[in-house]
Amino acid sequence: MPNQRFPKVQILHIAPHEIKFILSETDVSVANTLRRIMIAEVPTMAIDLVEFHANTTVLNDEYIAHRLGLIPIRYQPPESMKGEDCNGAFLPHRECVCYERCPRCSVEFELDVSFDEVNPLRAEEELMAPLTVSSQDLKTNNESVIPAHFLSQDEQDEAQDAGVAIVKMGPGQKLKLKAIARMGTAREHAKWSPVAVATYRFWPVITINEEQVATLTMEQKQELVDICPDRILEIDDLTGSIKAVENAWELSTYTEDIKFHQDSLKKRKEDDDFVRIEHSADKFIFTVESTGVMDADEIVMSSLRVLKDRLNHLAQEVENLKDM
């Protein structure tokens, strides 16, 4: 094990729907592997099969089935299994031994909405207005698996609808169906992806050549500070030199304005740069946003477990090759 690294993690912010962290002392390949796994290989639940019993709405069966598939389905583990993802609670349906489906590999949702039944119960001013069927109308048979109607309480308070809209209904229309959710990964279909955003940025390394900067006049220094649209530089009041602002790593977008402009400030063309902004090769700023199916920090933990299992499996396979 001579080539093992010991990466560091620094959490910047955690919210249920978002996590930001800095991963350092590792390689782009590790960062990219994590990103790819979070997008495509974290197991989640999504509606995969739909049985229609009645559909007289304006949307056809396939269209509604597709819309149902895209609704985020949240698995909330019972208190005793906190921190687990749905991998522990469900089997992939292809691996399950049951004949067609069973509670071990699927969750059933019932939806039965009829305009004429709901209409009389509505408020006076809403009578006969189009009725929106939403994810709120999906009735689950497993209390720990429910549709994620909204990302947060704030979003719910601002929303016009009760949940994720599925279809709108007029008088006389009816929709009755049974939807079966299964566990899967986004390698099969993007509806199983737990993330809306999973990206990393390179940490900017800002080096200031003090010797070169000393040859500039105060006006030229100010010019260099002002030319950068990201505002990542400032004049150091104590030394009169240029320094990077404290949160330069957040602001930097690697614009090339400084790079091009400083050539015009140089006495000779071959002089060293005053300021250089480079990508760090071993430090990454991650942003992960959840769709609502899992908390963002659980997505990260789950992706690491997926990677661990994958590596163990491959290590075993390679070990088998040695014996041959």
Binding site: M1, F6, Q10, I14, D27, E41, Q153, K308, L314, K322
Partner: protein, 127 residues
């Protein structure tokens, strides 16, 4: 009609005897060979390549995915001398990466717990 199974992208075709990992030694170059990793993609391909290149025993390591519609990668490795086989360097590269992942898991658990304690927010979702 002739669409491949959705699962063919990530499940081994056991009916046709597909193996996860197949090694073919190079016929012309010594200490070299190709690993065909079935149902794998750039996620582990690039990870293994970069880790192998950090090993001083490795002279060459590269991978390619021949076509976006086929679900395997070829990982080519050549070692420096005949005392270490490509299988061995790949084995130790995977072991290093597994240990690194273990380290990352503990790092994340600790820093997430610390962050939640310091920021004292009830992180359970409202739903």
């Amino acid at each position: 009609m002739n669409a491949p199974e959705r699962s063919s992208a990530f499940l081994l075709d056991e009916d046709s005897g597909e193996q996860k990992c197949v090694y073919t030694a190079d016929t012309k170059v010594t200490n070299a060979g190709t690993f065909r990793l079935n149902k794998e993609d750039h996620t582990v391909g690039n990870l293994f390549r970069m880790q192998l290149l950090r090993d001083p025993n490795v002279r060459f390591a590269g991978y390619y995915c021949p076509h976006p519609l086929v679900h395997f990668i070829n990982l080519k490795i050549q070692t420096n001398n005949s005392t270490v086989a490509p299988v061995e360097v790949l084995g130790s590269a995977i072991e290093d990466l597994a240990n690194e992942t273990d380290h990352l898991i503990t790092q994340f658990q600790e820093s997430i717990e610390t962050w939640k304690r310091e920021n004292d927010t009830e992180m359970t979702s409202q739903f």
